[in-house]
């Protein structure tokens, strides 16, 4: 990890600008959102170009440089790139906003805003999460509502009132028409947006426990595999096809897990960050033939999974995240940050690059994630 860049604002979200998969490019631009400031901001940063001078050896090309920033009403509770130049944010004021980054002039402007999208009858309700699949945008909030927008339309496409009796903390797409939400009583809810009903098509939960869940991410290739994290800092892997209990539970952090991300192109790798100030890199490998001495290396801790052989199915197609044969799958975790005391609120990983932001008002960039 490269050294901290102090940015004079507590960072609530960090996201890489997407790169086209055809060009084997590494990302070089990321956006951050701040929270708890008198004036909050979204900012665009550059980590320098990768095509240029090969002079510097170890991939270190200096601090991230601020390109431009723009005032944001309320805390930035979530931030996603809609495309190369549009950014969608979720605000503590309940607003969902699309910002446009003009790359020629390096300025930012508001392209569309749904003020008070999330609200109570006589107060604002924070919008806690957004997810987008251009042009569709889905937002969730403390008011327990799910709202569907389209970036090219002014109105709201659909509202699911009372989707949840408690706060919905995060949302992700499962398939193009299905979304998954997590709430503060430890439930995962699947919603089929084609259905007009206002109840979920499936509810998954850890029976008995009511541990709030704060983040969710879906396996990029195997859409039935989902990872969640919550108040107890445990990492949960779920197979939404099989039953309504998690496939595996792993101790990860000693406090709230704020974000979990599968690596988008190398999903054997997963990353989590937490209120306890740590950032973990998880790597699973399912190479049965690999001699044990080749495994390990950077291992700081080792965990193996329950010993139940999956029932039938093509072995090779079963993800390492779900295969529970302890002899065949191993999991390594590595701490990616030096000792930290304040929360790591957000992380994003793309290609070999990882960026994360903390309540210590620092951002860290790693350009050589071993994936």
């Amino acid at each position: 990890m490269e050294s901290a860049k102090y940015v004079s604002q507590k960072v609530s979200k960090t996201r890489w600008r997407p790169v086209s998969y055809s060009s084997l490019q590494q990302p070089d631009i990321f956006a951050t959102g701040s929270w708890d400031n008198e004036d909050n901001k979204i900012s665009i940063w550059s980590i320098g170009n990768h095509h240029g001078s090969p002079g510097l050896e170890d991939g270190f090309e200096g601090d991230p440089q601020l390109i431009c920033d723009f005032k944001h009403d309320g805390d930035v509770l979530d931030l996603q790139f809609l495309d190369q130049e549009k950014i969608v944010t979720a605000s503590s004021t309940g607003a969902v906003t699309i910002f446009r980054h003009h790359q020629n002039s390096q300025t930012i402007s508001v392209s569309q805003r749904w003020a008070r999208a999330h609200r109570y009858p006589c107060d604002n309700a924070p919008c806690t999460g957004v997810v987008c699949s251009s042009p569709e945008i889905v937002s969730v909030g403390e008011d327990g509502r799910i709202i569907v927008f389209r970036a090219d339309q002014e109105g709201v496409t659909r509202v699911i009132e009372n989707a949840d009796s408690s706060t919905i903390h995060a949302v992700t797409y499962l398939r193009t028409t299905e979304i998954l939400t997590v709430n503060s009583i430890g439930q995962l809810k699947l919603w089929d947006l084609r259905q007009q009903s206002s109840s979920p098509s499936q509810i998954l939960s850890l029976s008995g426990d009511r541990v709030p869940l704060y983040c969710v991410d879906r396996h990029p290739n195997q859409q039935h595999i989902v990872a969640t994290g919550g108040q107890d800092g445990m990492l949960c892997i779920w197979d939404v096809r099989q039953g309504n209990v998690p496939s595996s539970l792993m101790e990860a952090h000693s406090a709230e897990m704020w974000e979990v991300h599968f690596h988008p192109t190398n999903p054997d790798h997963l990353f989590t960050c937490s209120e306890d100030g740590s950032l973990l890199h998880w790597e699973t490998s399912s190479h049965a033939d690999m001699p044990s001495f080749l495994q390990g290396g950077r291992t700081s801790s080792m965990a193996s999974w329950g010993a139940v052989t999956p029932a039938g199915g093509n072995q090779s197609l079963i993800s390492a995240w779900l295969s529970r044969d302890s002899g065949k799958s191993r999991l390594e975790t590595t701490h990616m940050l030096p000792s930290q005391t304040l929360s790591v609120n957000s992380l994003d990983v793309l290609g070999q690059c990882l960026v994360c932001g903390t309540d210590g008002e620092a951002i860290f960039v790693n350009r050589q994630v071993p994936v």
């Binding site: 309320g74 503590s92 439930q187 929360s343 008002e361």
Partner: protein, 651 residues
């Protein structure tokens, strides 16, 4: 009461008219001030409707200084984790390195401020940044000296070398001047050439001085021998090498020989024909008058002190420093009044740590510096228990002041928590009082505050925060959220209140809201009786919906007999029993029916006892009476079928 050290500064509040009375209220980081009408009675005339916020510490609002606060927070936490039981020998290098880390953070901050000060176009802002730079410069200067004298505590010999480094670091304008001179076409004829050479000599940078002199020597072949002599004097000057084998006494002998040689050269007028070289020679002898003639190159009395020590007393002991410092300051400042910075440095040379800290506290407008420095010195075991008339000890007092200031900041409050943690006596009380007052705009923030409280077992604050969140949810009619918060706080009374609201809603609408929550209460259900009832009652509806009538009936009855259901709800429960009684199949056994009847009688008798008041509308009573009649009938019929059925089975 003790005398004040300095007269407190007067701050005029621009909005308050002259001669008016003022009222005020203390805040944690600022004071609220307002104009009052001071008249015993019949106050007339217009008052002023403004409240003014007066703040001492503006620095925490500077975006650049925020980096200083955040980075130093990290260093501070690292320092607190250094093990107490390590031998002091292995701790000292750690303390020195931590001190350097602090200083490098100050330097980084200073450089950034410098850049902004230059690039900003507004004159006012530029001055403000400039002021902050000079404050940081002073802070770094003092810190560095404290590091040399107190933390590193260099012995005689090395002490001077450290002091030289200190002066060189803070008098770096020589290098810039030298650069300009060297870049010019003919350096040796540059206007500042001799200034640079002399400055080098004053700082003991003899190697660089020699290189500069070579340029002059080549221009003057006639004076070749003179330059050669000076060069050899400069080259031969001995410097103590702390890592070497030479003892301090051996060094002292060597140095004295060199000194005598320089003295001889001066006395036999070797440099008489070149006044520049003669001047350098006099400096090498540490001649006070010559040095004082070069005041503008020295620029400060402490530079003068270090130069004088270098050329007169290179083996100065720490204990002797104060004597030289005092005399150098008096000589250098002549009759002008010393600035606060001068006094602080002098106190440091006198090894009066408490005076340094006290003077810094008065002179500087923020607590950052004194708090961190005092903490570090305390870790080095340099602060003897110095009794304050207030608080616990100096370290804790200053840390608390600093952290309390941070806590008033809307964003930096999170950093302050770690500082409170490391104040053993009052830290927790401070934290308890402050944490409850953090405004909670979102659940995310509430969760972070809760985590801080839960990690420290501050159950009182946990309850209060959860209650705030529960009340807010309730106000927004989010019963599910409200219940979740009261479960997290284990707040039975509030859970009861919310359960009542759920039951009322059910009675009004006939359906339950927030089923996802109520169906998944789990063990949390046991928090309060009413919540248990809510959960169980919902379970009854679920069983009924699944047509598991027998189990449903049993549960319904037990809700009344086990006194889980509140009496006010019994009629609803009995009414719920009606459709079960009317089923073709016998569901309630004879015994169960008796129990139901008993429940009904107990209810009606208590209702009768309450005596229907005259104001109770007749209609409502009629409905009640009809309901009871219907129930009695249904119960009787069910009893009959049950007896018949049970009798049949037996035979």
């Amino acid at each position: 009461m003790e005398e004040v050290d300095v007269e407190p500064a007067v701050t005029n509040i621009p909005g308050i008219r002259h001669g008016k009375h003022m009222g005020f209220a203390w805040g944690p980081g600022d004071i609220l001030v307002y104009e009052t009408l001071h008249r015993a009675s019949g106050a007339t005339g217009s008052g002023c409707s403004f409240i003014y916020m007066v703040r001492k510490d503006e620095d925490i609002y500077s975006p650049i200084l925020r980096k200083l606060f955040n980075e130093s927070h990290h260093i501070f936490v690292g320092l607190q984790t250094i093990k107490e039981d390590l031998p002091s020998k292995s701790k000292k290098p750690q303390f020195v390195s931590i001190s350097r880390n602090y200083r490098s953070v100050i330097r980084a901050c200073m450089e950034e401020l410098q850049q902004v000060a230059v690039s900003t176009k507004e004159a006012e802002m530029s001055t403000q940044y400039g002021n902050q730079v000079s404050i940081l410069l002073a802070i770094e200067l003092i810190w560095n000296l404290c590091e040399v004298l107190f933390i590193d505590a260099a012995p005689a010999g090395s002490l001077l070398l450290h002091l030289l480094d200190w002066v060189r670091l803070h008098k770096a304008d020589v290098d810039e001047k030298a650069k300009l001179v060297l870049q010019s076409d003919s350096p040796a004829e540059h206007r500042d050439y001799w200034d640079v050479v002399v400055s080098y000599v004053l700082q003991g940078r003899l190697e660089e001085a020699r290189q500069m002199l070579v340029k002059q020597a080549t221009l003057r072949p006639a004076a070749r021998n003179m330059f050669k002599l000076m060069d050899s004097l400069l080259q031969k000057m001995p410097f103590y090498n702390p890592g070497g084998t030479q003892t301090l006494t051996e060094f002292d002998v060597k140095w004295r020989n060199w000194h005598e040689e320089v003295d001889r050269c001066l006395k036999d007028n070797s440099f008489a024909s070149n006044h520049h070289l003669e001047l350098i020679c006099k400096i090498l002898l540490g001649d006070e008058d010559t040095l004082l003639e070069r005041k503008e190159l020295l620029s400060s009395w402490y530079h003068f002190l270090v130069t004088r020590l270098l050329y007169c007393h290179p083996t100065v002991k720490p204990t002797e420093l104060h004597f030289y410092a005092q005399s150098c300051m008096t000589m250098f400042l002549d009759l002008s009044v010393p600035e606060p910075l001068d006094n602080i440095l002098l106190a440091a040379f006198e090894f009066d740590i408490h005076q340094v800290i006290k003077d810094c506290s008065i002179a500087l407008n923020n607590w950052w510096f004194v708090a961190h420095l005092t903490d570090l010195l305390d870790h080095c075991k340099l602060l003897q228990s110095h009794n304050l008339h207030f608080g616990s000890n100096l370290r804790e007092f200053l840390l608390l002041e600093y952290a309390a200031g941070l806590f008033t900041h809307h964003s930096l409050w999170q950093c302050a928590v770690d500082y409170f943690d490391h104040c053993p006596e009052f830290g927790r009380v401070y934290l308890e009082l402050q944490i409850e007052r953090v405004p909670l705009d979102t659940e995310r923030k509430a969760l972070k505050v809760l985590r801080i409280c839960e990690e420290r077992q501050m159950s009182e604050q946990v309850r209060s925060i959860c209650k705030i969140m529960a009340m807010r949810a309730l106000r927004n009619n989010r019963l599910g959220s409200a219940l979740s918060w009261s479960i997290r706080a284990k707040d039975a009374a509030f859970a009861t209140l919310i359960s009542e609201r759920f039951l009322q809603d059910y009675c009004a609408k006939g359906t339950f809201s927030d089923l996802d929550l109520i169906d998944n209460l789990g063990p949390a259900m046991l928090l309060s009786d009413r919540l248990t009832f809510l959960g169980k009652y919902r379970e009854f509806h679920k069983l009924y919906g699944e047509k598991r009538f027998r189990e449903a009936a049993k549960l319904l009855l037990s809700l009344m007999t086990a006194k889980i259901a509140p009496r006010s709800f019994w009629m609803t429960l009995l009414t719920d029993a009606l459709p079960l009684l009317e089923q073709k199949e016998v569901i309630f056994s004879a015994d169960q029916t008796y129990e139901l009847m008993y429940c009904l009688e107990e209810l009606t008798s208590s209702l009768d006892a309450a005596a229907p008041g005259p104001d109770r509308p007749m209609q409502e009573e009629d409905i009640e009476v009809t309901k009871v009649e219907l129930l009695r009938l249904a119960l009787a019929r069910n009893l009959a079928s049950a007896i018949v059925k049970e009798g049949t089975v037996e035979t």
